[in-house]
């Protein structure tokens, strides 16, 4: 069962959460970056190269931990920094309705 972000306003998102891109969201890569269209809200969003890679990993992985592990292997970044930024991006996307907590 999936839940909307509004239902989990006070929920703490951590790496154990399962996050899935919404079926309503379409993505097109443009020059290494990505434009997302949320069919539900009819809003467009932009993701830079790293954000685009994160979206790709969210589609493939069942848990945020797996996405985190992949990013750790792919990028030269401090673990704490990666965790903080990954969770911040996911929360932004949850708020925008682009992803859901599975």
């Amino acid at each position: 069962m999936e839940h909307k972000w509004s239902e989990y306003w006070n929920m703490k998102i951590d790496l154990s959460c399962q996050i899935r891109p919404s079926d309503d969201v379409l993505l097109q890569e443009v020059g290494g970056e990505a434009v997302l269209l949320d069919l539900a809200s009819e809003c467009y969003f932009g993701l830079e190269a790293v954000g685009t890679r994160i979206w790709e990993l969210l589609q493939q992985n069942s848990s945020l931990q797996q996405t985190y592990d992949c990013l750790r292997a792919e990028y030269d970044v401090e673990p704490d920094r990666l965790r903080t930024d990954l969770l911040a991006l996911v929360e932004q996307m949850l708020e925008a309705g682009l992803v859901r907590v599975a």
Binding site: V30, L39, A49, V50, Y75, R81
Partner: protein, 437 residues
């Protein structure tokens, strides 16, 4: 060891823009190609571009509709069945004005004929020529932007696209119901239904795959995703159908509240073949009394084409296979998504398994300008270009006391590097004045 040093902390989700009819500005910013070349967008901008660039093409398009007897006769009959003597009639997307003239013949007291394109000038002339100019009020504007002095008894509109919705009829009718019509207004067409069918159309798919073939030794295959993710407007042959058509949805225009649809249906395959995509068309009950316009293939009678929604990959199908189809539009039917699943029942076990899955959208067929998207973000702080400064200067000069010649002289003096020829400055002043004054 990590291979790259890309800083993760730069990943930021940027709200860009909101889709919809207001996308006109976006279309301009994105070189009017943002929704794909084959995706008809009847914004004022597009209409003006069509008319300005090739009036003969534009007039030929209108002539094809005027000589479509199935269309014209059905609308004429429905208008005579619907419009009563003394009625106030609103005609959205009047084109050459023929439906407004039918309304006059049926006894309308006044007709508000709305048309965004310059074809309205032809409609004015035709109206006068036929002696109805005392009753028809022409307004060159999108209907969503007009105000009427009175609410109408009847709405007539032929903003019906090849697949029913792509001319944004739902948005126009909804807006008219809210602002321009009486509560008990009669709406023509009364309802609109969409139909889909699985298709074996190797020639259509081959045209898409031709982008995979090198041309003069150069690779153009990056264009293919744009082509395969857009609806194609073609004339379908009934022989291409792999199964029976299914009605996807029926929309009652008197009460539809959404500008978009999300509808599902299931088609059953009736013969062996290769599934290349879906065919789509509409049927419209014009008066609610059965006067219909139907564009089902092979419809050589109507000027409407059909939709071909191609699949990324063709699949071999067998009789009895089912195709679950969901069609969704967004942003006032300017974005289309077709997704679904093909299933097959095993003759041996009776178990049903998934054969194929598809999920495509015209959004993926949009030509997004690299680098141009950031300029559309709400966080972007724009700066005027030199051309913008010129227009700003001219706009400031437009105060009701300076002639175009005087404005052009001032502009030429202010921007001598740009306007070495005074005629160019006058041309620019005319353009700015035409648009804003």
């Amino acid at each position: 060891m990590a291979e790259t040093t890309l800083p993760v902390f730069t990943c930021v989700l940027k709200p860009l823009w909101r889709a919809g009819r207001s996308v006109e500005d976006l279309a301009t910013a994105c070189v009017a190609a943002v929704l794909g070349t084959e995706f008809r967008q009847w914004t004022e901008t597009t209409l003006q571009m069509m008319f300005n660039k090739s009036p003969m093409t534009y007039l030929k398009y209108h002539l094809s509709m005027l000589t479509d007897h199935a269309r014209v006769d059905a609308y004429r009959q429905a208008i005579f069945d619907t419009v009563r003597p003394g009625d106030i009639v609103l005609d959205i997307g009047t084109g050459t004005g023929i439906l407004s003239l039918f309304a006059c013949q049926a006894g309308a007291r006044r007709v508000y004929a709305i048309e965004a394109g310059r074809i309205i000038e032809a409609a004015r002339a035709v109206c006068k020529q036929n002696g109805f100019d005392d009753r028809v009020v022409f307004m060159q504007e999108l209907s969503t932007k007009v105000e009427l002095p009175e609410r109408a008894d009847v709405l007539i509109t032929e903003t019906i696209g090849n697949f029913g919705l792509e001319e944004s009829i739902l948005g126009y009718v909804r807006d008219a119901r809210q602002r321009l019509l009486k509560d008990d207004a009669r709406i023509l067409p009364a309802s609109l239904a969409l139909h889909v069918v699985p298709l074996e159309a190797p020639q259509l798919h081959a045209a898409i795959d031709s982008w995979n073939q090198p041309i003069a030794g150069l690779d153009f295959s990056s264009v293919r995703p744009l082509v395969v993710n857009n609806p194609h407007w073609v004339k379908l042959d009934a022989a291409w159908m792999l199964g029976q058509p299914a009605q996807l949805c029926k929309i009652d225009l008197a009460c539809a509240t959404s500008k978009d649809i999300c509808a599902s249906t299931t088609c059953t395959v009736t013969k062996y073949g290769t599934l290349h995509g879906l065919g789509g068309w509409f049927s419209a009950d014009l008066s609610g009394a059965g006067t219909a316009v139907i564009s089902n293939p092979p419809s050589t009678e109507t000027s409407w084409s059909h939709a071909f929604l191609p699949f990324e990959t063709p699949w071999d199908m067998e009789p009895g296979d089912t195709i679950e189809i969901t069609l969704r539009t967004a942003a006032d039917a300017t974005v289309w998504q077709w997704r679904g699943t093909c299933r097959r029942r095993s003759a041996a076990t009776g178990a049903t398994s998934e054969v194929a899955r598809f999920n495509q959208s015209s959004f993926l067929g949009q030509m997004m300008p690299v680098g141009g998207l950031r300029r559309l973000s709400e966080t972007h702080c724009p700066q005027l270009t030199e051309q913008g400064c010129i227009d700003q200067f001219i706009l400031q000069m437009i105060d009701g006391s300076s002639s175009l010649k005087e404005i052009a002289q001032q502009a030429a003096a202010r921007f001598p590097g740009v306007f070495s020829d005074p005629g160019k400055a006058l041309e620019r002043a005319r353009l700015v004045s035409q648009r804003y004054a």
